[in-house]
């Protein structure tokens, strides 16, 4: 009877522990941020040209889509016989146990440094660490001496003479330290068994979900790859007309083929693939501005006449939208990504195809319909500005008519026996500054990669190493 009561109590306790959601825990499901590829390595790669900057990446691995993640979650829930809500409850339980024992994050104030300095009465981090942690470490020089002299030197000499080698069972004896530490830790694990069990289930769940995700997304695996699809822009002045916009896009798709030097590792090595740089100009300011420029010029030319007769000319800009584009690229580029890229390297695009497209075909109609007393002046002309990638900016003035009507009779306006407006054409030298930003600036590339050696390299921060 007693046994039955105890067993009923245990069952009830288990039921309460497993079935009742943790009080106050928000309803939630699977934490999607825990499902992804740990092994994916991505390092930013930035190309700068003058003030312009383009970010791409050097990456290895695979990126799973959201759809892949949902599929992996669904499959894993089925395998574990759990619902999303149950996973969320387990997560809340684990966090509750952890909270009971731990300092809560986020709630701690940032002024803690001042509190420590004030309490210890010290000024420097080195002093505080030595005082609080009680480090009684040897000076650095002593460690360095260890590497040069001592028992290790004699033993190393012994190894060369073939004197070393103990019984087979002692081959890895020195590694016993790791087993001892592991056993000590295992002993402590017993204290947290409930939370650990729930956590283990979650760990298994997320591991399995990640395993499933890897399988689902495995057909998208790739080797090291440099990829960039980045755009930046700048305003520029063209034929003294400001406000035009250059939009630059770097498309890079390079796959790693092999190492060049034995020391190359990770992403370093030879890449091949395509590199395309597109510079496209948005020229609406030029298209508007060329009208104003022409107006200022020609109005200035006949300023006195216009003033005297009170002419008010009308201008109408028309024609094809100006297009200026440049493409620099190659489909078969061989690029050696060297470790120096982490310090920044200059890129050379001289051997690339460089094609330029220029279409300028603007017309400005100038017209007049002006009456002074009983005299009517009517005029119309067309100024055409034209250029292609091979030419200077050409202009052609085409007078259509300039008539005067008095008493119902209309005659062309003449000056000294010749028509007041005559056809003319000419050209102005091409404004090559439109190409200068590419031609004259260095193209620098920098890879933001953690070093495995070197003083200035990246290393994971303490909060990262626990993840």
């Amino acid at each position: 009877m007693k046994k039955r009561i105890v067993s009923a109590l245990i069952s009830l306790l288990l039921l309460v522990t497993t079935a009742v959601p943790v009080q106050g825990a928000p309803a939630r499901g699977v934490d999607r941020s825990k499902i992804g590829f740990d092994s994916l390595e991505t390092y930013p790669l930035i190309i700068t040209v003058g003030e312009l900057s383009f970010e791409g990446e050097v990456a290895r691995g695979a990126k799973a889509t959201k759809e892949d993640i949902e599929k992996a979650i669904e499959k894993t829930l089925k395998e574990f016989g759990k619902t999303e809500a149950e996973i969320g409850e387990a997560q809340a339980f684990v966090e509750k146990v952890a909270r009971d024992r731990s300092l809560a994050e986020k709630a701690v104030g940032k002024e803690i440094k001042d509190v420590i300095l004030k309490t210890t009465g010290m000024d420097l981090a080195a002093e505080v660490i030595e005082h609080i942690v009680g480090l009684n470490d040897r000076p650095l020089d002593e460690f360095l001496l260890d590497t040069a002299v001592g028992a290790a030197e004699d033993k190393a000499a012994g190894l060369l003479l073939g004197k070393a080698g103990g019984p087979v069972l002692q081959v890895t004896e020195a590694l016993m330290f790791l087993s001892e530490k592991y056993e000590q830790d295992k002993q402590r694990w017993k204290d947290r068994v409930d939370a650990i069990n729930a956590k283990r289930m979650l760990t298994n769940f997320y591991d399995k979900a990640n395993y499933n995700l890897r399988n689902i997304a495995s057909d998208k695996l790739w080797n090291w790859r440099i990829a960039m699809d980045a755009t930046d822009s700048r305003y520029f002045t063209f034929f003294d007309i400001p406000g035009n916009l250059e939009m630059w896009t770097f498309y890079i798709s390079l796959d790693k083929k092999s190492k060049v030097n034995e020391s190359d590792r990770g992403p370093f090595g030879l890449y091949t693939g395509s590199v395309q740089i597109k510079i496209k100009c948005e020229m609406s300011k030029f298209d508007e501005g060329i009208n104003d420029k022409y107006q200022d010029w020609i109005d200035g030319l006949y300023a006195d006449l216009n003033k005297e007769l009170g002419f008010k000319w009308n201008y109408k800009s028309e024609g094809r939208k100006t297009e200026i584009e440049r493409g620099i690229g190659t489909a078969d580029h061989r690029f050696y990504l060297s470790p120096q890229a982490a310090d920044g390297v200059i890129l050379d695009f001289d051997s690339f195809m460089d094609s330029k497209l220029v279409i300028i075909d603007r017309k400005v109609e100038r017209s007049l319909d002006h009456i002074i007393d009983d005299t009517r002046f009517q005029a119309k002309s067309m100024m055409t500005f034209w250029a292609d990638s091979e030419s200077n900016l050409q202009y052609t003035f085409d007078p259509q008519y300039f008539n005067i009507t008095v008493d119902g009779e209309t005659v062309p306006v003449q000056y000294g026996g010749v028509p007041a407006m005559q056809k003319f054409s000419g050209e102005v030298p091409w404004d090559s500054s439109v190409w200068d930003y590419w031609d004259k600036n260095e193209k620098k590339m920098k890879l933001y990669i953690p070093y495995t050696s070197g003083d200035s390299g990246y290393f994971p921060r303490p909060s990262d190493v626990f993840r």
């Binding site: 480090l135 190393a156 060369l160 080698g165 283990r200 590792r265 070093y451 994971p460 303490p462 990262d464």
Partner: protein, 306 residues
Amino acid sequence: MEGIQKMKQKPRGRILSIIIVAALLIAAASTFIIYRSSISSASAYTEFKEAMLEIKKMGDDYAENDMKLQAQHYYSMAGSSVSAMRLAVDHILDMKGESKYLDDVADAEDTNVTAKPIYKDWESIAAISPASPYPYYFEGLIYHIQGNESKAKEAYQNALINPLFSENSAVFYYLNELSIDELSKMRDDLAVIESDIYAIFSPRPYGLERHPMNFNDEYLRAKAKDVLEKEPNEYTEALRYYTAALRVNPFDAKNYASCALISIFNNDVDAAIICVNEGLWVDENNKALNQIAAWLTQNQEQEVSP
């Protein structure tokens, strides 16, 4: 005369039979010695392999219990050690004329080999775990076999400084005597273990230059202290060494406390809290950690109270 001849023949026959028996005995003994030697050599490899699989399994347990730092320590130790032995075997195979494995090292992507390990040089293998002595040992072994005694001695010495290695561990010179078939089998075996390890563990950089003392957390803390003594506000640089110390020895509460304090000075209170929490789990009675926890809690109360 006949009698004399018989008398002379008798001892000659006896001597001959003694010589034959002795020769047979020597042959049997030699065979036994060779047999024993091959058994103990094979056992040395088995011992090494099993130890590494055991370390990996411990890493699995830590990982299961969400003790990522410790898990990484064990995984990196096993990974670095196994990769080092595999690279040594690649080199020995190359020296014996079987270059396809080392060709693969030089990135011949299409080489037909069973497994293509990611880590293909001593530097990167050593960088996986500064705590493992095996990259130095196996690098030294290759120099030794190649006859470069000065470099071999230096590398052996660097391995022997590490208490996780002893001269009893240095028993793999026999690899040089194995046949190409035996080595190839061993190499593939190691490559499979490697890929199993790296499938669940991605090594993270330490940001340290390779140095034989990097296994020693006390040395790394001394480096950090040296940085702070020279440049009192170089918290990030000091953090590099304190973090490395924590990673090479996640069993000592001092490393958690140092990391927590330097993180506070580096204005990363969240990281400090993680270090204190994790450190208290390692040693809940540690004075320094409890002091830092008290400061953090006190500060928390000050923040909360009006």
